[in-house]
Symmetry: C2
Subunit: 135 residues, 2 copies
DNA sequence: CGTTACGCTGACGTTAACGTCAATTCATCT
DNA sequence: AGATGAATTGACGTTAACGTCAGCGTAACG
């Protein structure tokens, strides 16, 4: 159904907006497993699914190492409850981190806005003085 | 008024919770300018003010290089309107970045929560099956 | 058969912000 | 005087996720 053919490295790069180096790097890190036609890489549907998950994981802020472990567990999904729980726990921990990060960010934004307001008033005064002396 | 004495590197480290390496690094990057008593560093009130600003800047997510530029302008605060505007603009740009980052984070959190819910239901099914087969 | 394009494999480079370690100096404590 | 404890400089190490470059093979075009 979902285009089942193998894809070349270039097609992959165009499809996912990554560089060849990135794909080779992910292969070296055992995140994807392209087959070979002679020496050239061929990416299967499975590789594409994994790459999609990798990129999503990155958006979530997971490290590649985290992602590799998650993918490994994802493979034998359901086969081992304990492992699934590990995945679940890892994701929840990450979620907690992200929420904390979000809160810190929100606070920092608020602080920075205050500074900017202070600054704006300072600037207004200077602008006034300048205007006055120019008048 | 605000304790005007010079401080040793150790006092600084204790006061600001940084390592000596950090202070030396900041000096090398020309963010602070401790005097010398023989070969030993002595930090003035000015250094302390700057360090405080540096650490705040880091909380805001500025790079040290950004911070250095901001401090330089801060020094001649008010003396040059154009420079003040530059500072202001830089801070606003950073604010925009942070707000975008915050929004992306919030979205990623939402996505991740959905995944976790999906996962939780999957797990419930497995748990059920296991319970059944155990019964 | 020459060249142009693409792919492959090492292997070293990059960035930020320090950490870590060695060799040395200096002052103080005993 | 010897030992102990801080400080200093210089230099290399670290981490993540690739970027970049050299040197090589090969496949198709004309």
């Amino acid at each position: 159904m979902t285009t089942d053919a193998m894809m070349t490295i270039r097609e992959m790069c165009d499809a996912f907006d990554v560089t060849p180096r990135t794909l080779r790097f992910y292969e070296a890190k055992e995140l994807i497993f392209p087959k070979r036609e002679g020496t050239k890489r061929l990416f299967s549907r499975r590789d594409r699914v994994r790459l999609k998950l990798i990129l999503r994981g990155k958006r979530f802020g997971f490290s590649l190492e985290d992602i590799r472990q998650l993918l490994d567990m994802y493979d034998r999904e359901g086969s081992e409850r304990a492992q699934y729980l590990t995945t679940y726990k890892l994701a929840q921990e990450r979620l907690a981190q992200m929420e904390q990060q979000r809160d810190e960010l929100i606070e920092a934004i608020a602080e920075l806005k205050v500074e900017l307001n202070d600054g704006a008033e300072l600037y207004k005064r200077y602008a006034n003085e300048t205007t006055k002396s120019a008048a």
